[in-house]
């Protein structure tokens, strides 16, 4: 491969990584497979030498020696009144990217996309972004006020809102700054940090249109709404009335079958499908109908996209077509040569995903991936592609297309127009380099 870069030596304590790719290839003629296998056997031998000895003669000790769970009584029902993931899954948690922000109350915790399946994000792993910390609000004391260009300025309790006709819809939510650290160069090791300000959930609530109709909104003059939160930051964002009128903007209290989690806005948040997360105002306390946008702090100082000519694009809201391979992805190591299911997520703020192409050679040739159902508008779509890894270096990429005809662009194409300082709305094609040792790392291909 042309322009292959030299990876500077790194302190990597794992035994197999003391050797370079070339060393591994030279020492183990069978390549990674034998090497890894021998490393695993060595490791298990240290723990259970007699078992290994027997395994070689009679079979696998995992089968021959009955484990405790087959030979003892398990725990009773409701031992965990609210169920938690297996202890073996404990590595898959929300994490901060060190150095990204200075204080935890105005920061981000990323979703571990590298370990997720399908399209729904478990509620406890939904990414977090707060500007002034989060609260667990007493729902009995929470109110939603509607004011501005309406006939009747009104107040609703949670009881009122939860009595209104409800709908449930599956949508992705992505922070406008997702992948923002990568505009200029590779900065983070894994898909959790590069793309983990993305989640997808089923939201339940009331179409905002229904409430604005009740209040007699002036749809002729009032072409914008302001949504405002009840937290210290009282986050405010301007949203186009066209989206409200389409019925897709929800005043939501439910997420994945239960109430919203406090970190995600309990008891009430706005759902603005296809639009960046900051507009999905959490702890929603007020909607104002107006005839002009508001230029609030998070649409006049932040969430503005700096272009090469020094101008900032303001009110950029739509999350454009994007995809990423989550398995295998950066910071992982393939177990072996042979069959692998390349799996990833695709989404677009303009509608449905119609197609995802995958390349294993850095974008020279592409194959069309399978889209798994359901394929929903403004929701994550899971894609998969069969791949037999021959043990050679590869660069994996995915490229999504949506039903508006928009095709995900490369870093080269994106930077040619938007430069590298925009922070927001980086939807470039992601590349994962696979070395001969099976190690996967984050690279950028123009």
């Amino acid at each position: 491969m042309a322009n292959d870069y030299a990876r500077p030596g790194r302190v990597r304590p794992a035994p197999e990584n003391f050797l370079s790719d070339e060393d591994i290839a030279a020492i183990n003629k069978g390549g990674r497979r034998d090497f890894l296998r021998s490393a695993f056997i060595a490791a298990s031998a240290a723990l259970a030498a007699p078992a290994v000895a027997r395994a070689q003669s009679a079979g696998d000790p995992a089968i021959l020696e009955l484990p405790p769970w087959s030979t003892s009584l398990g725990l009773p029902v409701a031992a965990n009144p609210y169920g938690m993931p297996s202890k073996f899954e404990r590595g898959l948690v929300r994490r901060e990217s060190p150095g990204l922000t200075r204080v935890g109350g105005s920061s981000v915790a990323f979703t571990p996309l590298q370990g997720l399946f399908g399209i729904i994000t478990p509620s406890g792993l939904h990414f977090e972004r707060h500007h002034q910390g989060w609260h667990d609000i007493d729902p009995a004391r929470h109110r939603l006020m509607i004011n501005g260009l309406v006939k009747s300025e009104a107040v609703y309790t949670m009881d009122d809102l939860m009595r209104l006709p409800a709908v449930s819809r599956i949508h992705f939510i992505e922070c406008g700054a997702n992948t923002g650290m990568e505009w200029g160069n590779v900065a983070v090791p894994t898909v959790q940090y590069s793309h983990g300000m993305l989640s997808c959930s089923e939201f339940t609530g009331v179409p905002l249109k229904l409430i604005l109709d009740m209040c007699g909104a002036d749809y002729k003059k009032g072409r914008f709404i302001l949504a405002e939160g009840a937290d210290g930051s009282s986050m405010t964002r301007t949203i186009p009335m066209e989206m409200v009128e389409s019925g897709e903007v929800l005043v939501a209290y439910g997420m994945n079958g239960e109430m919203l989690r406090p970190e995600n806005g309990y008891p009430l948040r706005l759902v603005v499908p296809g639009v960046q997360g900051v507009s999905w105002v959490k702890w929603l306390r007020r909607i104002e109908v107006g005839d002009q946008p508001w230029a609030s702090k998070d649409e006049a100082v932040h969430y503005i996209d700096l272009m090469p000519d020094g101008q900032h694009r303001q009110y950029t809201s739509t999350q454009e077509v994007k995809s990423v391979i989550t398995s295998p992805s950066g910071g992982q190591i393939l177990l072996d040569r042979g069959f692998h299911n390349i799996s990833g997520m695709a989404w677009s703020g303009r509608g449905k995903i119609t197609r995802v192409d995958v390349s294993t050679d850095g974008g020279i040739n592409w194959r069309e991936a399978r889209l798994e159902t359901p394929v929903l508008s403004k929701a994550v779509t899971r894609f998969n592609l069969d791949w037999v890894w021959d043990g050679k270096a590869a660069i994996l990429q995915s490229r999504a297309t949506d039903d508006s005809g928009h095709i995900q662009a490369s870093y080269g194409q994106l930077r040619a127009v938007r430069g590298t300082k925009s922070i927001y709305h980086n939807n470039a094609i992601q590349s994962w380099k696979v070395t001969e040792s099976g190690e996967v790392s984050n690279v950028q291909v123009l």
């Binding site: 042309a2 322009n3 990584n17 590595g91 948690v93 060190p98 150095g99 200075r102 109350g105 370990g115 910390g133 006020m145 006939k151 009747s152 300025e153 107040v155 009122d160 209104l164 900065a187 959790q192 409430i211 109709d213 009740m214 072409r223 914008f224 302001l226 009282s234 066209e242 989206m243 104002e288 107006g290 002009q292 230029a295 702090k297 006049a300 100082v301 996209d305 101008q311 694009r313 303001q314 009110y315 809201s317 295998p328 910071g331 393939l334 703020g349 192409d357 974008g363 020279i364 040739n365 095709i407 870093y411 194409q413 709305h425 590349s431 190690e439 790392s441 690279v443 291909v445 123009l446």
Partner: protein, 354 residues
Amino acid sequence: MSRFYKTLMTILLVSGASAAFAFDRYPGLGRLATPAEVTAWDIDVRPDFTGLPQGSGNVDDGMVLWEAKCASCHGIFGESNEVFTPLVGGTRASDIESGHVAALIDNSFPQRSTFMKVATVSTLFDYIKRAMPWTEPKSLSDDDVYALLAYLLNLAEVVPADFVLTHENIADVQARMPNRNGMTTDHGMWPGASAANGGIGNGGKPDVNGDACMSNCKTEVLVASALPDYAQDAHGNLAEQNRPVGPVRGVSSGDQAEAGASVDHSGATAVVALVNAKGCMACHGLANKIVGPGYNEVLAKYKDRADAEAYLIGKVTSGGQGVWGAVPMPPQGHLSDDEARRIVQWVLSGAQAQ
């Protein structure tokens, strides 16, 4: 008649609303807002100054307020990069003439300060009033906000030192904002009507489109950037951030001891959760000063003091100032005695993150 309906009726009477109440389709749900309620919450200020309360404040008063309430996080001159990016810096007199901040193009200032970006002075009034100080939002009077904004505008050299900012002259200040011409709405990422139709932007037309090529799309692959070592190691042990079963494993990296401990659900982790939940970390770092001392500094100061635990429990609960500087530690009345004791013991045992 339920109590709810009685309140509803009273409120209807209080507000004297005769406006058609279009709630009939869903009877019993919602009620009219009283004027006092709307005033209490409707605090937003638009670029055309709709919503701006009357009032005034001068630079000198603003400086006094700033040093008492804001400087601890943002620096005396709004220059600090400790808690948040700088508010002031990177703008020049020529920017005030042009309304375009040159440093956004020539990179002459390492950060992007607030004044380099913000085009509308209304935004700053609105935001300071609704959200600052960070730990005590919505505690400032309107005149306080005018004074603080006057001070910030003076630091940014938009107004002179003897300036009095009022609701009447704020529009003149707008005409001097350094980046007032620095925004464009000509893009495809506004999901509503286009500018031509009373909205914003170009109606949703993307500025960049990929290509649909399927084979032999290029002759060589240019790897423009790869992961720097420090970035891999800075994110802990990636082996611990992946599943222990499946087609892949995480690679080992970073400080193994530290990352390995991050999944240890010991008592220390519970205290870390507690200090996070109680807002202590907004002002204290584990190993660095934010507004108050780092916990390591606290330990260093008191490790040889016999009554350190009792003293610190008292200080944490009741607050106080003068030990580390003029900035007070607010009383933390929301802590139970047990919580205060656990936190202090944790501080005195080295305040480990895990």
